[in-house]
């Protein structure tokens, strides 16, 4: 394939995921394609509800019970994680890939101390059996690394005794324990105070750089995504609509959706415009045929309502899923 500079660490091919709800079946992921090279940092952007979290959760196979993976492959170092048996999958979960959850309030078990949970994770992440002192040492080091003050107190705290920022640091420390290859960060700052969002993102950038981790960063903060990542995927209603170098994407967006997304994001702060892109994500119960964006697209034509556009390679190593760029 063209433009394959780095060896692929993770490759998602044609991923289709449905959710069953009482009204019927939500066809959420509509054939997601995504590639992460070794050491590469990927941004994944799009409105809330476009399927970003579902994509990340599919990688570690931690989707809720009403989700079903209809089609596709998730190749990690050549192994299809969707079909790998529990043992192989757990090996990957323990030592290679880890995820940072969106809501630090919900991500830690309310009735266990931080120590309990962190120790168990460290125990799993080791190849052999660790002595208690070793686990303790690693735990302290990790919590220090995420710049938590008063590590001893944090260890013996229950989650509800910690602030949101502290909790997210704990979650990051846990992720660092397991992620030796790839870190999935699912809007790691959305639910935090504005004042500490920046700190947490910087911390993440810092730590992943030091460890040379590949990253998929899902975020609404386009400015941060641009700064922190090499390549960006833009997602709309379960489809990747545009892909390319992060600078290029935000400088020169091609897909009408990306254009709107970039336009409505305030440039300086990098924060999400509360009004956002006009219109709403379509109903997944009966997604629009053809290009899923045509209901909101200012340039929609007849073909957009009928056929889903292919991924079209354009100059600058970018690829875009839009009929506007067909045969030029």
């Amino acid at each position: 394939m063209a433009g394959e500079k780095k060896e692929a660490l993770l490759e998602i091919r044609d991923l289709k995921v449905n959710y069953k709800v009482y009204k019927g079946t939500l066809k959420v992921l509509n054939g997601v394609e995504l590639r992460v090279g070794k050491g590469e940092r990927i941004g994944l952007v799009g409105e809330s509800g476009s399927g970003k979290t579902t994509t990340l959760k599919s990688i570690l196979r931690i989707l809720p019970y009403n989700a079903s993976i209809e089609d596709g492959r998730i190749l990690y170092k050549g192994i299809d994680l969707l079909r790998a048996d529990e043992r192989v999958l757990n090996e990957v979960r323990r030592r290679e890939i880890a995820m940072i959850f969106q809501d630090p309030m919900a991500a830690l078990n309310p009735v266990f101390k931080v120590r309990d949970q962190l120790y168990d994770i460290i125990k799993e992440s080791a190849r052999g059996k660790l002595a208690k002192e070793e686990i303790e040492e690693i735990a302290y080091r990790l919590l220090k690394e995420v710049r938590l003050p008063d590590v001893e107190r944090v260890m013996d705290s229950y989650p509800f005794q910690l602030s949101g920022g502290m909790r997210q640091r704990v979650v990051i420390a846990m992720a660092l324990a397991s992620a030796r290859e790839l870190l999935l960060a699912d809007e790691p700052t959305t639910n935090l105070d504005v004042t500490i969002q920046d700190q947490i993102l910087r911390l993440l950038a810092d730590l992943t750089m030091k460890r040379n981790l590949s990253v998929i960063l899902v975020s609404h903060a386009l400015g941060m995504v641009r700064k922190m990542t090499d390549r960006t995927y833009v997602m709309y209603a379960g489809d990747i609509v545009e892909e390319g170098d992060s600078g290029e994407i935000f400088e020169n967006p091609l897909h009408p959706y990306t254009q709107l997304l970039v336009e409505t994001a305030p440039k300086l702060t990098g924060n999400w415009n509360p009004r956002g892109v006009p219109g709403r994500i379509p109903d997944y119960l009966n997604p629009p045929p053809g290009c899923r964006f045509h209901t909101r697209c200012p340039f929609a034509e007849q073909i957009c309502r009928e056929k889903k556009p292919p991924m079209i390679a354009v100059e600058g190593g970018k690829r875009v899923r839009c009929w506007l760029y067909y045969k030029r």
Partner: protein, 339 residues
């Protein structure tokens, strides 16, 4: 520190509630129709004897005076005189209560073990046949009242299959009475035959008592596990490759079981009420059978005493449950609960 404060507050509330309960039940016993003095004396006794008894029982005094006299006696450990057993109610309580408590203890063990085993199994295999079977069992379990189970168990396992004794508490000679608890006394005196004999007699009534609440608690644990299974905090541990067993039995079970544990405590305390009926079926020589007898004979002092004794046990159980819940759930322990 906080914990001690919390318990102290609960105790103060409990004392207040018990005081209220005693007023209500005492007043009811005195105000409602029927002349206790006449009943004590018997229908054919001459009027002067009735009068004498009335004086003796303080029934000629105003209600509030009667109440405070009664309360004073209670604090001295005197629950009054029973016209049914013709002796002190305190003595009756001491004699009959242990057998009931022992039965309830056995039932509680069944209930807890059963609820956890079934609940966890159903939660782990949610929506599969195991779960459906347990659900069916749970529905049947709560639909048949304890005395219904008692009758059925007695018919099937005692009469027809002859696996357990039909009724009674012991068929061997009772061990020497030291604490009043057969299990403890038999162990102290080395009468293991009495101990196993007791257990054999206790199985059916205890099962009859345990099965309904067990089924309900199992369902609570199950739905807790299902509700929490896909919470982020479980997915997080799963995403780190924590083995399934640890995930289920440590991280999922604890938060899921807390509501059930609270209910469990209350259910165990409530067994004392249900035991009323089961003891009759199995002819168990316990407090509940005594309670029914005094109620049928309208033995006022004894009725008030029965309600108060059960109230005290119930409230103590309540407090213990709260302490256990607070121990299991740090949120209760640390967060001040604003009233």
């Amino acid at each position: 520190m906080r914990m001690a404060q919390y318990i102290l507050r609960r105790v103060v509330f409990a004392v207040f509630t018990l005081f209220g309960l005693s007023v209500i039940i005492f007043v009811m016993a005195r105000v409602l129709p029927g002349d206790p003095a006449r009943m004590a004396a018997g229908p054919r006794a001459p009027e002067w004897v009735v009068e004498q008894i009335r004086e003796q029982l303080n029934l000629d005094k105003p209600l509030h005076v009667q109440y405070f006299l009664w309360l004073r006696d209670v604090f001295n450990g005197d629950l009054g005189y029973s016209i049914f057993t013709k002796r002190s109610v305190t003595q009756d309580v001491i004699e009959y209560l242990p057998a009931s408590l022992e039965l309830i203890a056995v039932a509680a063990v069944f209930q807890i073990l059963g609820a956890f085993a079934l609940g966890v199994l159903a939660g782990m295999y949610a929506y599969r046949w195991v779960d459906n079977a347990i659900r069916l069992f749970a529905y049947i379990g709560i639909s048949i009242p304890a005395f219904g189970w008692a009758v059925i168990f007695q018919l099937v396992f005692a009469w027809k299959l002859d696996l357990f004794p039909v009724q009674g508490m012991l068929s061997v000679e009772a061990p020497e009475r030291i604490t009043g608890f057969v299990t403890i006394d038999s162990l102290i005196t080395g009468r293991f035959d009495a101990f196993t004999d007791f257990l054999k007699h206790a199985v059916l009534p205890a099962m009859a008592l345990a099965i309904g609440p067990m089924a309900q608690e199992a369902r609570l644990i199950r739905s807790g596990m299902i509700d929490n299974r896909y919470k982020d905090y479980i997915l997080l541990m799963e995403s780190h490759g924590v083995p399934k067993r640890k995930l289920m039995f440590k991280y999922l079970l604890k938060p899921s079981a807390i509501p059930a544990v609270t209910v469990m405590g209350m259910d165990i305390a409530s067994l004392l009420g249900n035991a009323f009926l089961v003891e009759i079926v199995f002819n168990w020589p316990g407090f509940s059978r005594y309670a029914i007898s005094v109620m049928l004979n309208k033995d006022l002092n004894a009725i008030v005493a029965v309600v108060m004794v059960i109230g005290v046990i119930f409230i103590i159980a309540n407090i213990i449950v709260d302490i256990i819940a607070a121990y299991l759930d740090p949120r209760i322990r640390y967060v001040e609960r604003g009233e």
